[in-house]
């Protein structure tokens, strides 16, 4: 489950985004009789698709006009935020970290942790390559879709194992091309997500996965973020959203079939695939999200800010951001769910 | 019949028609015609009488729908034993003037070292010695047609076919070219078949004239032209009473074909 999956086509998407930005700023100010809520989502299996599918928000807010727009990457969602074209978004930790740093400095807040990427993304080596540990990757060709959560996790895994990324030949490939290159024996290992991952695992050795990296303090996460101005003016809307998503997160654990049906309807996959994909991630309800590992409480902030700052530091190493702000900046951008209404 | 082998062109019972959407269109014949070395045969006839068709049959661009066409005793195919000058010069614009002649010499298997000398000779023969490096569109229509004649003569063909080559030129240029063509083609072994609709041109050039009837063309008149040509200027020839007599005879024959 990547949050920054990309496509060349998103370059083309810049045009409409620009156009949307030109008029976007005014439509959320809510001066008219009908307030507008503009939600950006991405087409991967997640509990938020249940909220969209069941129109939970639309029913809870009958006097609001709710629009759902599908984006294909966190980068394009950030672009839309810069133009003030959206209010709420489902977005990954890496683009979120980037957005909170200069030069983007996007005024939005992280209001919820939708999932922690688990074993749906993993580092696999071809059995024929003889690689059995991350340290064996020195001098080998390892593929990942650059700029994705898998790319981030691959570099984190190398760092953790004490392997210099410069000693490994990193190859930028789309998942379907990773599969093709793997079958030809052109690459020795790859960090990639399902469904390609499952194919590679049939004749591969899993060296690590994102669940293990998360346990070791290098998680890749999916958030809900809210435009600060929107959040301040529309607490009621945000509360309804949190209520709906918390219920959906609960349902993933208690009644995954219902969520999977909604997901399969929304992204056009089979129900079985949807269940398999949902199960590969880790879901935490709002109470669990307030644990010290994540949001924590107002009095003792959790480790989530540190995780975001880690991601920012990684981006800075890649020269993708200008500088890494102090931890306080990241803490200020986090609002624990359930704490919004003062609990 | 031994003389048959030496005939430049021999047409026996030849008919030719074109297939069109509206059905078969008879264009020429039946016609019998023999062209011998040293002959300057001019074909005169109204438009559409099959003059071009006759030349295309001899050149080998068309096969007759009936009868036999022989050239130098064999079935005609376009090649270097026949020179063709068309109404449009058809010079290759991607070549210079000299390049056009050079290509013809190359296709005639003239060895490379000889080609530039032969090119210069041919250009000089048509009075264009200086124009070799020019592009084909940078010279006048008359000069272009001279290059086309030089190009057609490059392989020293036994038979030269010319289809209204001067029709698009002004009267003055035309007369000058007529004079040049006579002097370029008085090689005794060579023969010329020259198509025109100008009676003046025909009488001035020909050693023999045939007049074709209206479509489908048949031979309405076949006369030898016996005019004194040696030691007489072109103007004197055009002004002679014999010339006027032939002119009158041919013109009457042509008029009869269209009435």
């Amino acid at each position: 489950m990547s949050v920054t999956r990309r496509s060349v086509l998103s370059l083309l998407a810049l045009g409409p985004v620009l156009a949307a930005c030109g008029v976007g700023g005014s439509s959320s100010s809510g001066s008219g009789s009908q307030r507008v809520v503009r939600i950006a989502y991405q087409n991967f299996a997640d509990s938020t698709l249940l909220v969209k599918d069941q129109a939970t928000l639309e029913k809870a807010l009958p006097d609001h006009k709710i629009t759902w727009t599908s984006f294909d990457s966190g980068a394009s969602i950030n672009t839309a935020f810069l133009g003030g074209a959206i209010d709420l978004a489902v977005i990954g930790s890496s683009p979120t970290a980037q957005a909170l740093c200069p030069p983007l400095n996007i005024p939005y807040k992280v209001i919820e942790l939708l999932n922690v990427i688990g074993d749906s993304e993993a580092l696999v080596a071809r059995k024929a390559s003889g690689v059995t540990a991350i340290t064996d990757l020195v001098g080998r060709k390892v593929a990942a879709p650059f700029g994705s959560t898998s790319h981030y996790s691959l570099l984190a895994a190398l760092q953790q194992a004490g392997v210099d990324p410069g000693a490994v030949t990193l190859v930028d490939l789309e998942p379907q091309n990773i599969q093709a290159a793997w079958q030809r024996g052109d690459i020795d290992a790859a960090y990639v997500w399902t469904p390609v991952l499952s194919v590679l695992q049939q004749d591969g050795v899993t060296l690590t996965d994102s669940a293990k990296l998360a346990a070791a303090g290098k998680p890749t996460l999916t958030f809900t973020v809210a435009r600060t101005e929107f959040l301040d003016a529309n607490r009621d809307v945000v509360d309804k959203w949190l209520e709906a998503t918390n219920r959906a997160i609960g349902l993933v654990k208690t009644d995954p079939g219902v969520v999977a049906e909604a997901v399969s309807r929304q992204i056009g996959s089979s129900k079985e695939d949807a269940i398999a994909q949902l199960k590969q991630n880790i879901y935490l309800d709002h109470a669990e999200q307030r644990a010290p590992e994540y949001f924590g409480t107002k009095e003792s902030p959790g480790k989530l800010a540190d995780r975001l700052r880690d991601a920012a530091q990684f981006l800075h190493g890649q020269k993708k951001i200008e500088s890494v702000p102090e931890l306080e900046t990241f803490r200020a951008a986090l609002i624990a769910p359930g704490a919004v209404d003062g609990k | 019949m031994a003389s048959d082998a030496t005939a430049l062109a021999d047409l026996v019972d030849v008919e030719h028609g074109y297939r069109t959407k509206a059905g078969a269109v008879p264009a020429l014949g039946p016609i019998d015609l023999r062209v011998d070395p040293g002959e300057f045969l001019v074909v005169v006839g109204p438009s559409g009488s099959g003059k071009s068709t006759l030349l295309r049959l001899i050149a080998g661009f068309e096969r007759p729908t009936a009868g036999d066409v022989l050239r130098l005793g064999g079935t005609p195919v376009p090649g270097r034993d026949v020179g063709v000058v068309f109404q449009q010069p058809r010079l290759f614009p991607w070549q210079t003037v000299a390049g056009n002649i050079g290509a013809a010499l190359r296709w005639a298997d003239v060895p490379k070292p000889d080609r530039s000398r032969r090119t210069a000779e041919l250009l000089a023969a048509v009075g264009l010695a200086e124009l070799g490096p020019r592009r084909t569109w940078e010279i006048s229509g008359g000069q272009q047609q001279r290059v086309a004649i030089a190009r057609a003569l490059a392989a020293r063909p036994k038979l030269l076919l010319m289809d209204e080559p001067f029709a698009a030129l002004d009267a003055l240029t035309r007369e000058r070219l007529q004079e040049d063509v006579r002097s370029l083609t008085d090689d005794a072994g060579q023969g010329v078949v020259f198509v025109t609709h100008s009676v003046d041109e025909a009488v001035f050039l020909a050693s023999r004239i045939i007049v074709l009837t209206d479509r489908p063309g048949r031979i309405a008149l076949d006369v030898p032209i016996t005019l004194p040509r040696k030691g007489i200027s072109a103007d004197e020839l055009r002004g002679s009473p014999e010339y006027a007599a032939f002119r009158g005879e041919i013109a009457a024959a042509v008029r009869a074909t269209v009435s």
Binding site: Q98, V171, D172 | F92, W94, R135
Partner: protein, 286 residues
Amino acid sequence: MPQALAEVSDKPQGTARPASRAPRSTPAARTVLVRAAAVLVLLGVWQLLALAGFWPPVILPGPVQVWDQLLITSDAANGQGGYAGSTLLERLGVSLRRVGYGSAYGILIGVVLGLVMGLVPLVRAVTEPAVTFLRALPPLAYLSLLVIWFGIDEEPKVYLLMIAAFPPVAVATATAVTGVNRQYVEAAQALGASRGHVIASVILPASAPEIITGVRLAVGIAYSSVVAAETVNGADGIGGMVLNAQRYNQTSVVILGLFVIGITGLLIDTAIVGVQRALSPWRGLV
């Protein structure tokens, strides 16, 4: 009276002449001036729009920011070796090499196939639908197949560009060959030219202007496909830079990359037009 008439009739000529002659004397210089002025005006409008701040600079950087990126990404000693490990010039070289090979193979195949298509109607009937089919496919759609067949090194990129480049050349060549004036062919045949001579010395040169128009299209298509080609292990090219920058909202780098692609594409096209003029100066004259 005659004098008055002369004066009257002279007047319009006298006023018209200097006005119409001045531009005619230096049309090339004038064109360059007009173009330069147009570019300057566009740059000015762009800078003003950027300064006006309708959009944040991260979405619409101004020309100055893009220029800064040009300097930064050209600097090998800036701590990231230009941009993500390669300077702009290195990237341009890498991508031009790919486009060069892809276009060269594409043109070669296109001319040969187009020639056969134009000369043999049966071949044309069979291959034309296939060529048109290939032409309609978006390169990204068959990229994975190229990876399966040719791996992840230079081959899939060069072959992708080749497949993108050859159809316009094949179609242009086939059309040109079919349209060659029969009169030139007959003239050559009557001069003793063999079939080979006719093809090499008449059909090809007569078709050259249209073939080169096909080549212009082909090189343009190949160049615009370089971003797609470099999604396969092509992070070292100019398209790879655009892709990478776009993933991280580095809009000024994206715009820089697009400008570099656009301007070099324009220069290449100008060069091809020059070759076309040199090879077929008779175009439009005969």
